[in-house]
Symmetry: C2
Subunit: 318 residues, 2 copies
Amino acid sequence: MRQAGRYMPEYRAVRERYSFLDLCKDADAAADVTVTAVERLGVDAAIIFADILLIVEPMGVGLEFTKGDGPVLHHPVRTAADVARMPEVDAPAAVPFVYDAVRQAKAALKVPLIGFSGAPFTLASYVIEGGGSRNYIRTKSLMYSEPEAWHTLLRRLTTAVVGYLNAQIAAGADAVQLFDSWVGCLAPDDYRQFVLPHMQTLIRGLTPGVPVIHFGTGTCGLLELMRQAGGDVIGLDWHIELDAGWQRVGHDVAVQGNLDPVVLFGPVEEIRSRTVRILEQARGRHGHIFNLGHGILPNTPVDHVIALIDMVHELSSR
Amino acid sequence: MRQAGRYMPEYRAVRERYSFLDLCKDADAAADVTVTAVERLGVDAAIIFADILLIVEPMGVGLEFTKGDGPVLHHPVRTAADVARMPEVDAPAAVPFVYDAVRQAKAALKVPLIGFSGAPFTLASYVIEGGGSRNYIRTKSLMYSEPEAWHTLLRRLTTAVVGYLNAQIAAGADAVQLFDSWVGCLAPDDYRQFVLPHMQTLIRGLTPGVPVIHFGTGTCGLLELMRQAGGDVIGLDWHIELDAGWQRVGHDVAVQGNLDPVVLFGPVEEIRSRTVRILEQARGRHGHIFNLGHGILPNTPVDHVIALIDMVHELSSR
């Protein structure tokens, strides 16, 4: 996650010539950045260079990426009237640059390519808050105070994401990942009532036969519900031990995770001991994708990332 | 939690005359603010007006509370040398205003009074990061890279907190609460190695017979370990259902929680339906303290807080 990102000098060099959003919209450059990261790191799969919010930009929310502060949405959606005013998005037509980037990256790669999108709750949180949030007060207030408007918004986002991911699949993505990055702010009851039905609709709407990775953070209390929502692989973050998390979602589903990205700032021996522990917990079962529990952070030492990938290869081949 | 706080007009009026830190250091005013909140709300217990960081100020960290941005520590502790240079704190002598406030509030109150402190991990995170943090990179880096310095720091903080809480108890606190507010950023293994032994030392060092509430947020993956660390009451936040959390920590310990503070921004019927659900999960067992899952947020409608307290009284008396 954030395979190509600010921690990598090759990526920073490209970013000197492009703003973040311009880079996402230039299919050649986005594909190049995707492929360069794979070549530099030696990972077993690529994830397309894009942003979880690209699919909401055509909804007229005024998306901008500001330096340091992350995404800002200048026209947030906060009332039932705002929701009603949102334009319908024809996803397969709206963001052609993403599909072009997928096509080009796929043609250049020797490893599988993962497409992705933000999941409806996480997209809604940005659309409502107008950016990132600490407490999600506006998001939850809309849920609690105007449940019909909430469900209308989630239905719209769900439809858009289904179209968006299926178009990425049509363009060559071998698997897709749903980033419900901030859904962990919810109580289980809220998830059940306000998110679960939409996730089920979404995942049922995706092209059959293509693996779906269902990812979130802080989801330790939601794992059974996320499993119920669907996905071939459930993402686990580092707040739960891999074996405890796998038991909770069930061994008939695959899991992805779950090294704390901050461990990569520590010494290589520490990275190794934690990696060994994760792989030991997965040993003897099929369906574990080693990954970080969330995206790589800026300033992560690239040589530590490469050392991690090498040790996962070495330890898993034993 | 944050019973007296910015959401309350009476408190904001007092704050016009005092900075946050000056208010904490004026025992008369701190006791007044504590008592006023109880009278306004009709809660069953008071929590002393103070801050989780007051005990680290005498350690020379340059604590300041800036408007809007929360605590800033101008002299953070980031290396083994910084740790070695930290002055030892004679807690019972260092913060007399807190004990005076406890004494005065206790004399004025008809309900029990809770004393509190930040727990060592959470204090360490502020001391190392120099304020709040998103990813705790410096905190975890010290843990991973300089474990001896880490343990020295935690031992110092533990000793200080033991002295601090015992002095609050001697001044009249009927119970104490340990706020390990940010410990949820850790993987279970990190908690086991870097936090658990210190928490055990701390809790064993507290005056016997006085109930200890052990609180954290995002701790869904740590609950069993927090139980192992100790405490008569384990705090549960809203990310887990109360009954699932209680089962995890064991029914032979009490629990506190666990309404999402953001629910208070929603309509009263929504507050009620969630409160009913929590109380139903606690029904038939002894040892549930109804509370929010974290502190009250600024801008929370006071009448919703009062409505919540009234409905808990009404529903629990049935």
